[in-house]
């Protein structure tokens, strides 16, 4: 049961924020790992350019990122129309669009954390696993993956944190529709724009602080647990 000190719209914003952030993290993780691996280990033409593109959302004003998403993933935009016609995936003015915006904004943090952990892996251990009969996919699963797990967790946490706070790109791309795209930051912003909204803004602010602290403490405990297991 929703707590009665929150109105149902406020409660919806909280739930939506958690859904959007979790979806953004989970859906971008495979891409994040692939790119982190390519950037850490790959040797190919255009690597610097790829690195720059991945980091771009970090430097661009979020409004620009949101506008670029609108231009490419909108209902009539090239990628958006293709995905809608062939897979039935619609981003514009849906919560899925909010998740996409959050995933893009959190992507540089995720890739960076995972990439650093891959670069820190002692490749001699992988060579040792090869001589013990493990084929490269098995080496990745049995040696590389467990060793980079702390980095993956760190990347997921950073991406989640970024997603919970994402505002500019989301509101530009999918607007601020209660129940569909109105996440916590958008809801707080709305409260600040109407007379007498202070109490609501304060309630949601407290919830934001609580969620952030819970996520940080939880991740710290998880990282410590995993770190103890894999530190040499």
């Amino acid at each position: 049961m929703p707590a009665d000190w929150l109105s149902s719209e406020e409660w919806t914003a909280v739930r939506l924020s958690l859904l959007v952030a979790s979806t953004a993290v989970v859906a971008s993780l495979p891409f994040g790992m692939l790119l982190a691996y390519l950037l850490a280990r790959g040797r190919f033409y255009g690597k610097t350019l790829l690195d720059t593109v991945v980091h771009l959302p970090l430097i661009l004003p979020p409004v620009v990122t949101g506008y670029l998403l609108l231009l490419s993933f909108g209902r009539k935009a090239p990628i958006g129309a293709f995905l809608a016609d062939h897979f039935g995936i619609v981003f514009s003015f849906r919560w899925t669009g909010a998740a996409l915006a959050c995933a893009v904004m959190g992507f540089p943090f995720m890739v960076r954390a995972i990439r650093l952990s891959i670069e820190a892996v002692d490749r001699k251990l992988e060579a040792a696993a090869l001589t013990l009969g493990a084929s490269p996919p098995f080496v990745f699963i049995a040696v590389t993956l467990p060793l980079i797990l702390p980095g993956i967790i760190a990347g997921m946490i950073l991406s989640f944190a970024k997603s919970m706070g994402e505002f500019g790109a989301t509101i530009t791309f999918v607007s601020n529709i209660p129940g569909e795209t109105q996440t916590l930051p958008s809801a707080i912003y709305t409260f600040t724009q109407v007379p007498g909204g202070d109490a609501g803004a304060m309630r949601l602010t407290l919830i934001s602080i609580a969620i952030s602290m819970a996520a940080l403490i939880g991740s710290e405990m998880l990282a410590r647990f995993v770190g103890r297991r894999v530190s040499p």
Partner: protein, 224 residues
């Protein structure tokens, strides 16, 4: 004591301005590649294990061609069935000693496995590591670590053991503790050993055949 077939190696490889050019054959149960640091010994082991792809070369073990650059043969390291004991141990930090020991075992069991009598219990007993099975590599001494590394290589059911200065990182007391283990291993197991070292005392105790390497080339050869 010699074995029917043996190991045949011919390599040519350039590393910067250093060139390895060596050809040897051995059917001894324990062969040492002996020479000063930087004479190319480790490079030869890497080529045999498949961790290095030489410019030119041919390696045959017991009639099985595992490398022949002229014919375009390169068997990848995970199909060569060699046990490699590295100088720095290279135990997996996220696994316990027992899991480290059984790592190669798992893959060996997926292949056709031969019964070499090397069970976990036998190997653990031979190496004297019963008491550390549930520990992690971080909590082991240097000597314990090397013993686990040797056990891990043995349990992968290798056709051949490659040992790359396995005692070099240990102090004299630890060396004295592990040398008898290696001698016992040589006499008990049916797996031939190729041992790399720059230490005369080690080589003279373990090896039956010694191939001297100097500047990437084969020098003298001693037989006992």
């Amino acid at each position: 004591m010699s074995r029917p077939d043996g190991l045949e190696v011919a390599l040519h490889h350039r590393l910067g301005d250093f060139t390895i050019d060596i050809a040897f054959r051995t059917d001894s149960v324990a062969t040492a590649l002996f020479g000063p640091s930087g004479s190319g010994k480790t490079t030869v082991l890497h080529a045999i294990a498949g961790l290095l792809r030489p410019e030119r070369g041919r390696i045959v073990f017991d009639g099985r061609v595992i490398l022949d650059t002229a014919e375009g043969v390169f068997v990848p390291p995970y199909r060569r069935e060699v046990g490699y004991v590295f100088q720095d141990g290279r135990l997996f930090p996220h696994l316990t000693v027992r899991q480290n020991l059984l790592f190669g075992r798992y893959f060996a069991r997926r292949r056709q496995h031969r019964d070499d009598g090397m069970t976990l219990d036998n190997v653990v007993g031979l190496l004297g590591i019963e008491h550390i099975l549930s520990r992690r590599p971080a909590n082991l001494s240097g000597g314990e670590r090397q013993r686990v590394a040797i056990g891990r290589a043995l349990l992968a059911e290798p056709c051949m053991l490659l040992m790359d200065e396995p005692l070099a990182a240990l102090d004299a007391a630890r060396k004295a503790e592990i040398l008898p283990v290696l001698e016992r291993l040589r006499d008990v197991s049916r797996v031939p050993i190729l041992y790399v070292s720059h230490d005369v005392a080690e080589v003279s105790r373990i090896a039956k055949t010694v191939i001297v390497m100097e500047n990437g080339r084969e020098g003298e050869r001693w037989q006992s």
